[in-house]
Symmetry: C2
Subunit: 356 residues, 2 copies
C-alpha cells in the first residue's frame, strides 16, 4: 500500500470504532436518562473523555485482524472499542491517582465536576474532592462496560474464551504497573532503569500494544505461534514507544507533539531518562529543579543540558532503538504472513523516526 492508502485504511478503521462507541454511549445515555438528568450528564462527560482520541488501541486490534485475513470488520471494531473503554477507565482513574484535573488541555472528568462545583460557590478543596469522587464512578462505568463490549463482538466458544483471557491479562498487568508507579512516587530511592522499563511495560505497553495485537490475531483465527509472535512484537514496540514518548516529553518540539516540554520536568515524572540521570555526577546540580512546580524555562534548559552532557538522552535513545529492533525481529518468523510485516514494520520505522 502507498501512503495514501495507509492513511485511508487507518481512517476507515477509526471511523468504524467511533460508530461503535457512539452507539454504545447513545444507548447508555438513553438508559441513564431514566435514572435522572445528573446521571445522563455524567454519561455525556464520560463520552467526551472517551472521544476525540486517536483510537490507537482499536487501530492496533483492527490492523492485526485484517493483516491476518480477518474479514468481519464489525467484530474487530467491537473488540477495539472494548480496549478503548478499558483505556478510558484507566486514564480517568490514573488522573484521580495523580490528582490531575486536565488532560490534553481540557478539563477531564474530575476537572469538569470540580469546575461545576466551584462555579456553584463550593470551596475549592470540597469541589476537587467532588470532582475526584465522580471520576471514580465514571472510571468504574467505563471499566465495567469494557468487558461487556468485548462480548458484543459476537465471538463464541474458544475464540471468546481466549479473547477474555487476553483482555483479562491486559487489565491485570496494567493494575500492577499502576501500583508500582504509585510505589515509586513515595519511595525515597529513585527507581532504576530496569524498574522503569518494567513499570512502563506493565502499566501501558501491555494493554496498549501486546493485548490489542493478540486480540486481533485471535479474532482472525491465527495460530498460537502467530499470536505469540505478535505479542512479543507488541511488548517490545510498546516499550520503545513509551521511551520515545518520555524523550519527546522533555526534548520534543511542542509544535509537533502538541504538549509542553516543561510538564514532565515540572511534575518530576519517573522515566528512563531520570533513572539514568540520577546515577550521573552532574545530576546533583539540577536535582532540586526537577519536580519543582516553580520550574522556569531557564531551569528546564539547565536540566536538559545535564541530561545531554551526562549521556542520559543518548542512553534512552539507544534503549528505544534496542527495543524497536527487538520488535522488528519478532516479526521475522514464518508464523506470520508477509501482510503482517507490511503492516507493522512501518510502525517500527515511525517510532524510530521520532528520535534523532
Amino acid at each position: 500500500m502507498d501512503t495514501h492508502d495507509l492513511v485511508a485504511t487507518s481512517e476507515r478503521r477509526q471511523q468504524h470504532v467511533e460508530r461503535v462507541l457512539t452507539s454504545f454511549f447513545s444507548d447508555s445515555h438513553y438508559r441513564a436518562r431514566a435514572l435522572g438528568a445528573p446521571y445522563a450528564a455524567l454519561w455525556q462527560t464520560l463520552e467526551r473523555n472517551a472521544s476525540g482520541g486517536k483510537l490507537f488501541r482499536p487501530r492496533m486490534v483492527m490492523a492485526a485482524y485484517e493483516a491476518l485475513g480477518g474479514t468481519d470488520l464489525d467484530a474487530a471494531a467491537h473488540v477495539g472499542a472494548a480496549f478503548e473503554l478499558l483505556h478510558t477507565a484507566l486514564i480517568v482513574h490514573d488522573d484521580v491517582i495523580d490528582r490531575d484535573f486536565v488532560r490534553r488541555g481540557n478539563p477531564n472528568v474530575s476537572g469538569s465536576y470540580r469546575d461545576i462545583a466551584t462555579t456553584a460557590g463550593i470551596p475549592l478543596p470540597i469541589a476537587e474532592h467532588r470532582g475526584m469522587s465522580v471520576a471514580v464512578i465514571a472510571g468504574d462505568l467505563a471499566l465495567f462496560n469494557s468487558y461487556r463490549m468485548l462480548d458484543r463482538s459476537g465471538a463464541e466458544g474458544v475464540v471468546r474464551t481466549r479473547l477474555h483471557d487476553i483482555f483479562d491479562e491486559a487489565m491485570f498487568v496494567s493494575a500492577a504497573g499502576e501500583l508500582y508507579d504509585v510505589d515509586f512516587s513515595i519511595r525515597a530511592e529513585p527507581p532504576t532503569v530496569d524498574e522503569i522499563v518494567d513499570m512502563e511495560r506493565l502499566k501501558t505497553a501491555g494493554y496498549s500494544f501486546e493485548g490489542p495485537l493478540q486480540a486481533g490475531a485471535v479474532l482472525a483465527g491465527a495460530s498460537g505461534e502467530a499470536v505469540h509472535a505478535l505479542g512479543r512484537y507488541g511488548r517490545s514496540i510498546g516499550i520503545a514507544y513509551q521511551i520515545v514518548d518520555d524523550l519527546l516529553g522533555v526534548f520534543g518540539d511542542e509544535g509537533d507533539t502538541g504538549k509542553t516540554t516543561m510538564g514532565d520536568l515540572r511534575e518530576g515524572k519517573r522515566t528512563v531518562l531520570l533513572a539514568h540521570a540520577v546515577t550521573q555526577p552532574g545530576w546533583a546540580a539540577v536535582e532540586t529543579l526537577f519536580g519543582s512546580p516553580e520550574l522556569t524555562p531557564e531551569g528546564a534548559d539547565r536540566i536538559r543540558s545535564v541530561l545531554e552532557e551526562g549521556g542520559s538522552r543518548r542512553f534512552a535513545e539507544a534503549l528505544a532503538r534496542d527495543f524497536a529492533n527487538r520488535a522488528w525481529e519478532a516479526l521475522v518468523t514464518d508464523a506470520l504472513p508477509e501482510a503482517v510485516r507490511q503492516e507493522f514494520q512501518p510502525v517500527v520505522a515511525s517510532v524510530l523516526g521520532r528520535v534523532r
Copy 2:
C-alpha cells in the same frame, strides 16, 4: 424447614461461595506473584477485604435459585461470588469517596496502605493519598473480575445473556445512586424523603437484593413473570432493609448490631430519618450537633430525643413497614411456587423484627 435446617442451609451456601472466592483469590495471587511481591500483597489485602462478610448477596442468589428448583449449586455459587466481588469493588471505592480508612473496625484497603506508609515515616497526607490510590486500583481489580466470575458459572446462550443484562443493570443503577449520594453531600438544601429512598434503592437495594434474586431465578430457568415478581420483591425488601439499617445506626443496640450508634450522627449521614427531621420545628435546636466530629454521647441523646419527639423515628419505622408489606405482597402470585414464599417471607418478618 425448621430453624435448624434454615441455619444449616444458609451455612452450606455461604461455605460454597467461600470456596469459590478462595479459589479465585488463590489463582489471582499466584498470577500476581509473577509480577512482583508488592502486587501479590495487594491481592492479599483485597482478599481480606472481600472475606469475612456475611456473603449476603450470594446467599440471595442461591436462595432464589434453589427455591425455584435449581440444582447446579456450583453454578449458583459462581454467580453469587460475582455479586460479592461487585459488592467488594463498590465498597472499596465508596470508602475512597467517603475518605474512610476503616470498615467494620478494621483498616480497609486505603487504611492498610496508609498505615504501611506512615510506619515507613511518610507524612500523613501523602500516606493517606497513597492509601486511596491503591484502593482505586484494588477496587478496579474486583470490579473487572466480577464480570469474569459471572462467566465461570458456565451459563451459556440466552441464560448467559440475561445474567449479563441483570448484572450490568445492577452496576449501572448503583453508579447512579453513588452519584446522587455525592451530589447530596455538597448540595445546600437537604434531600427529601423521596430523594433518599430513590438514592438508597439505586445505590444499594438494586445490586444487593433485586439483582441477586433475579440472577438466581434466571439461572434456575424461571419464567419471565417469576423473575419479575422476585425483582419487585427484592426492590421493596431492599429499601425496607436499608431504612431499618439507618434506624439501627441511630437507635440500635450496639451489642446487637456490633457498630456504634454515634457514627451515623457524627458523620451526618443522609437518611430517611434526617430527611424527615429537617422538616420538623424541633430540628433547629440540634442542627449544629448533627454531622459534628466532636459530637458527645449527650449530644447524640439530644438528637435522638428530637428524632423521637418530632415523629421522625415513627415515620421511618412506618415507611420501612410499608416497603416490607409491598415486598410480602410481591411474593403472593401464581408465578412463584410455594417454596419461594417459604424462603423469602421469613426475610420480611426478620426485617420487620429489627424495628419496634
